[in-house]
Symmetry: C2
Subunit: 232 residues, 2 copies
DNA sequence: TTGTAGCATCTTCCATGGAAGTTACAATGC
DNA sequence: GCATTGTAACTTCCATGGAAGATGCTACAA
């Protein structure tokens, strides 16, 4: 699981660039830096206790991720995340995760069973959290389900793409998690995905994964659009 | 077309990092640096007539793209592109381009007509090139078709993902283009995609785009696997 | 011959200084 | 008062030097 496309090349050691990248991403995702806010690399370096070079390199990566924009000789501006951006992100999720489910369903029966067990376990964990009203735990179980799904498909590039869109999606989730209803709807959908994978039904798995995400999008997107024009 | 996710923030001016990134990518794609070959940043800086900092930052980006690996304190090694990698790349293409076709087919009729005209024009250009035996021109028209398709769907994140996987796919294409047969098979498939988009048939467009890429994969992948175990 | 310790040499990584460029504001001319 | 120009204070961008670490070679001992 640790070979190939991973970013940090050594196991325990993270370079200062990597640490800065993660720290900045966290700051942006948690709304510490509001979108549109302009900062300088110097300021970031001071705040993170490092020098300007790692900050600069981390900002280049964040710009690739679409989290900020580097204006040459002017500064760094945090990118806003408009409803259209959220819609785009959902489209990527629908495309990738649907195909991931199809791939997972076409793996050998043994691997499918292992994955389906894991998926069912996360769904059960989510159900328990939901019954207890523990929304944080519910969110973790939900994230674990989808992470397991995309990891279980065996395509590392899918994992990579999903990771970057998930980082962006997280920024929107911070807002929407407060107002979502119909959270229990995810449970039967998750179970259907797991069952299709277990049975090796390729098309059914893909359809179920898609339907699940499309339904979530149709729930969330109007809420975001109603909330005001521009966002996080 | 120039707003949003683009990398180089200013129009004409490209930073030295950007230039180095593109130059290195070209060198790798064209096989100038064979996979597995180890180089140092110093060496690259000398060769490209710049200093080590831009090379370092460009290499970080290339590592994200999966083109090379930075081994801390040891050097830079060009990543090999195994048949499994090619298979992964095809899966991404199938997922994204299929969904792009669906998105394109669900746009307003006017936009669909413009896009379909463009697609048909590229298909015709490809047919002409094929009849003339001009394989380079055929490849350009083919690339233009698929670029137009993903640009025409209106999702900039799709464009971005396709661009990175296309860069990697290009490395494989350099090899396979010599031995592919059945090149004329693409023509009716391209026309079917364009027709479905023009008609606004969402599911048909997605299916056609997928079938096209799946067929291409099934043609190419065995050729690559037969050619030897490890590759470019 | 084999094993080991030490060193020389390579590498990336990061801090820092200066160059190039943008912006905002104040001073000056009308 | 208003426009214009010069300048000062920022910014990113890149070159370079030193630090930390990995590797391979050589010398030496058993």
């Amino acid at each position: 699981m640790k070979t190939g496309l991973q970013v940090s090349p050594c196991e325990g050691r993270v370079s200062r660039v990597e640490a800065t990248y993660l720290a900045l991403k966290l700051l942006i995702c948690n709304g510490e830096f509001p979108p549109g806010h302009q900062v300088s690399e110097q300021e970031l370096a001071l705040r993170l206790g490092t020098s300007r070079t790692p900050v600069h390199e981390a900002c280049l990566r964040l710009q690739e991720d679409g989290m900020l924009r580097i204006l040459p000789k002017k500064g760094i501006v945090i990118s806003p995340l408009s409803p259209d951006d959220i819609a785009e992100i959902f489209e990527v999720i629908i495309a990738i995760e649907g195909r991931a489910a199809a791939l997972a369903a076409s793996r050998p029966a043994e691997a499918r069973a292992v994955l389906a067990d894991q998926l069912d376990a996360e769904t059960m964990r989510m159900q328990t959290a939901l019954a207890a009203g523990d929304m944080a735990e519910r969110g973790l179980a939900d994230a674990a389900f989808h992470l397991a799904l995309v990891e279980g498909c065996g395509n590392r590039r899918f994992e990579r793409i999903m990771q970057t869109v998930n980082d962006q999606y997280h920024r929107a989730r911070v807002i929407t998690v407060r107002m979502r209803q119909r959270l229990e709807q995810s449970l039967p959908e998750h179970r259907e995905i797991a069952a299709a994978i277990r049975a090796g039904s390729v098309e059914q798995a893909e359809t179920a994964a898609r339907v699940h995400r499309i339904r979530a999008r149709n729930d969330i997107l109007p809420l975001i659009r109603d909330l005001g024009l521009r966002h996080l």
